[in-house]
């Protein structure tokens, strides 16, 4: 249905159609314009001005040459003709009655919605301390098994992180167009390619590092947990994409129950490796529950209506082009997890060195302090979500009220929005990092905080608290940039943060004091927040250009 740019012009190039009356003389062009008017309305049901129509036409693939193929000098000339026809097909949209909510109530709703993202994680932590086993952890694991699970978790999280981000980007893109055929097309392909890539990565690490360094038995534990954790993390990705938070919570709860039951059933009298292997099976069983939930959610949300009478012909995009365009988001997801997890891994290598072996040994006391600090993200994640929701609500009215010739006011408003959100988040994060460790040490049972009371443990906790507190700032700034389809700076920020975290941690723990490793996390997250912060400020400073440039 698109104009072929190399097709002969419908009217002589030397003559530009001046009016609809004149166009009616050329029936082919006239009919096509009706079609284009309906297509424009399909994309934008309520075009407010010529600019909206031009944007829609450009998004449909029109360039100057394509417009000339229709007999118009420019896309704007074509838009003028199409705009005149849109009223014929305009269907008044049902007036969405905006629910009146107070600012604070709206904030509370957004905050709670954002906090749902952390539900599986929070439930896992709680169940871990109650049942001693959760979706990817066991408090009964020996240090050797813990080392394997730890390395498996890093690899699985990095691989699943990349896929989740790609899925979140492209899947949501089609989902919000209600283009369910392409949602399914995207999800199924991303899942297949991610599983293949992860299988290859896990096999490479298993063959060239784990087995030579740790032997076959521990290697089997690694293999099993890497696969189980990856499957579990990835299984929840479609639910995140569909924003099915209640289903996610329900499935996670059920998965935890299955894991607990399976672990209890399998490993009652099986210590050591056998216990760990069976636990891996239990984790895998739990993942199956979430996979089933994701599958049924996908079926119900993107049902293609097999019994419908209407037929849609879908030409899928080129997979390699979609993969290429999604690659920055995958890189961001992978680099993010490396940034957060690389510090403890390097600390584990330093711990092994101090024990006389040049291999990774699970640094349980260091991990105990850092993991406690990680809990503050429970409080802060909702705030990131609330901020970006608020931004989304404010951006459109702001741009609607500001015409392009009033860009100064729009830019000032966007800069103010950025400064307000980022500074509020930074201040709250700082307060949480300052206060929460003390509260946790006071409230949590002494057995859970034993590692903090080892020499240097408290310092590690405090430093890691501030390290994790800066991460949400970087996340929010990355959100702004992703909103405007500018993934380069977040990728750069996450990669630079990961490299900084790794290098600083390596240098600091090389002297043998493992508790200094937390400074690496602080340095890495600071670099991440700085890069994404500066880039997002710059992007929002020319917000209207960025916004329209993102289409």
């Amino acid at each position: 249905m698109f104009p072929e740019t190399d097709s002969p012009p419908a009217v002589p190039r030397t003559r530009v159609a001046g009016s609809l009356e004149e166009l009616r003389l050329h029936s082919t062009v006239y009919d096509d314009l009706h079609v284009e008017a309906r297509r424009v309305l399909d994309r934008n049901p309520e075009p407010r001005n010529l600019r909206d129509v031009a944007v829609a036409l450009e998004s449909m693939g029109y360039t100057t040459s394509a417009a000339r193929a229709r007999g118009f000098e420019t896309v704007f000339d074509l838009a003028t003709a199409v705009y005149d026809l849109t009223y014929l097909y305009y269907v008044p949209q049902p007036a969405g009655v905006a629910e009146e909510r107070g600012t604070w109530r709206q904030f509370a709703v957004d905050y709670l919605a954002g906090s749902w993202y952390g539900v599986p994680w929070i439930m896992s932590v709680v169940v871990l301390f109650i049942g001693r086993v959760a979706l990817w952890s066991s408090l009964d694991a020996t240090p050797q098994v813990a080392a394997m699970v730890s390395l498996a978790f890093l690899l699985a999280a990095v691989m699943a992180g990349g896929c989740s981000q790609m899925l979140g980007r492209k899947g949501t893109f089609y989902l919000l167009q209600q283009n369910f055929a392409l949602v399914r097309w995207t999800v199924s392909r991303f899942l297949v390619y991610s599983v293949a890539a992860a299988a290859l990565a896990i096999a490479l690490v298993y063959a060239f590092y784990i087995v030579p360094q740790y032997g076959l038995h521990l290697g089997e534990i690694f293999l099993e947990f890497a696969a189980a954790i990856f499957i579990f993390l990835l299984s929840a990705a479609p639910l995140y994409m569909l924003r099915r938070f209640y289903t996610l919570a329900l499935a996670t709860g059920l998965a935890l129950m299955v894991t607990l039951a399976a672990a209890h059933l399998f490993s009652g009298s099986s210590p050591g490796f056998r216990h760990a292997q069976l636990l891996g099976l239990a984790v895998g069983s739990g993942a199956m529950v979430v996979i089933a939930a994701s599958y049924f959610a996908m079926r119900s949300d993107i049902d293609l209506g097999g019994s419908s009478d209407t037929l849609a012909i879908v030409k899928p995009p080129e997979l390699r082009v979609v993969l290429w365009h999604s690659a920055p988001y995958a890189n961001y997801g992978m680099a993010y997890f490396v940034m957060v997890l690389v510090g403890p891994i390097i600390t584990g290598f330093a711990y092994g060195h101090s024990l006389g072996v040049d291999q990774y040994v699970y640094p349980s006391t260091y991990e105990g302090s850092v993991d406690l600090a990680l809990l503050e993200l429970v409080v802060l994640l909702g705030l990131v979500y609330a901020s970006i929701e608020r931004f989304g609500r404010r951006l459109r009215p702001l741009l609607e009220s500001q015409t392009l010739d009033c860009w100064r006011q729009a830019r000032t408003a966007l800069r103010r929005e950025w400064a307000l959100s980022v500074s509020v988040l930074a201040v709250v994060s700082g307060l949480v990092a300052w206060i929460l460790p003390g509260i946790m040490l006071r409230l949590l049972p002494a057995t859970l905080t034993a590692s903090v009371r080892t020499p240097g443990g408290l310092t590690a906790l405090e430093v890691a608290s501030f390290g994790f507190a800066i991460v949400p700032v970087g996340m929010l700034c990355s959100q702004y940039l992703f909103f405007l389809s500018k993934p380069r700076a977040p990728v750069l920020g996450a990669v630079a943060g990961a490299v900084t975290s790794a290098l600083i941690t390596a240098v600091l723990v090389s002297g043998g004091d493992l508790t200094l490793g937390a400074w690496g996390l602080l340095a890495g997250s600071t670099v991440y927040a700085l890069i994404t912060g500066l880039a997002s400020y710059r992007a929002l400073s020319s917000g209207e250009e960025s916004f329209y440039g993102s289409f």
Binding site: R38, G168, A199, D371, L484
Partner: protein, 424 residues
Amino acid sequence: MAPSEPPIPDAARPAEPTLPPGPGLPSGPGAATAPPGLVESWDPTDDEQTSEVRHRVQWDWHGRQSWGRRLVAAFPVVAAALALGLIVHSTASAQGAIDQVQSVVGTGGATLLTAAPRLAPGGDSPGIGQLTDYQGVTFSEPSGPSRTIQGSTSLAFPPYVGWEVNGSAGAANGVAVARGGRLHVGIRRATPDFRGWFVTTTGTTPASCAFQFSAASPPSVAATSPQSIGELVMAVQTGATATTGDINYVVVAENVASDGQRNLIAGYSLGHISHATEHILKRVPWAPGPIRVAIQTNGSNRLSVWVNGGLFYEADDLALGITPPLQPYLEVQARQTPYSVGYDGYSSVCQRDVVVTGLPDGSSASLGGRRTVARDGSAVFSDATTAPPVTGSLTVTLPGNPRPVRFARHTYWPGARYSFVPGP
């Protein structure tokens, strides 16, 4: 590992739900210049329907398969096949478990970690041993069949890295095997004269360290000939034999005669290439029972021998001629009888204390009837390098917790370093 996963950074999710219907979603980088096929999704003839209506879908697949498309399409199958191949190959070619970090399990999930001597993957034992390969060796890992070492008359002792086997009995008559937590060294068949078989280290130990041997009681001699004799031999020899030809060593041996009489001997030997001259420094009648021997010598004039924790022999006016660094020999000698002895462990002890690190300040630790309070995160059990290892349960009492952590029974060699890992 962290019991908690950082939430998936929702940053990649554009804040699209808050966008009212309009120009649509930010479509990602490059979308504005993407070819028309990328943005075309629905046939415009459907535009009279609202977008909520479900459509039956007919796919309009791309036409001719280019090489690029074929490569992309083949990736999942190729990657999965490659992954499977790597896993199967690695699994098939690897043998045994390698726990280079040993752990002692305690109550409440607590653990003590310590470095373990290296074990070679795949059952091989290549390379020159390091000092850490000779500290706290318990022979808990079963050994594989001895293999020849290229360019050497010695046999490798897989999977123990840095250990080798040799002796005058010859490979056909000598046997060395680790099984059931004990190193068995033996002579299979009776020989008319004394023949020996030993396990020694390829690397060396400085003369400043003590050489500690732990062995089970040597068995009785099965042969009835009055000339039959079996010997448990613990020796420390110059590490320069390969270059100088000197076979100078000090030795502590328990010999068992066919009539059941036992003697414990301390002495030294001097020789070049072969036929060393033995000098007995002390000989006493001995009773059967497990034996722990510590030998310390500077190789020139000083020799100290401790047996079962007591000083057995000491002198500083000897002419030993043993050029440091040194090598331990875990050996058996026998005449006119097959004979086998069992070693429980060996350690090159170079530090005097047992140290447990990673303890909260104010903790106390008890081991072998001794109690110490942790300072700067470490509990130190002071001892001598020649003190026998303590086999027992370590108990750690953490501040604020009246229930002490009790660790499994374990042998703590002097100089060992442990890292305390608290339970959850």
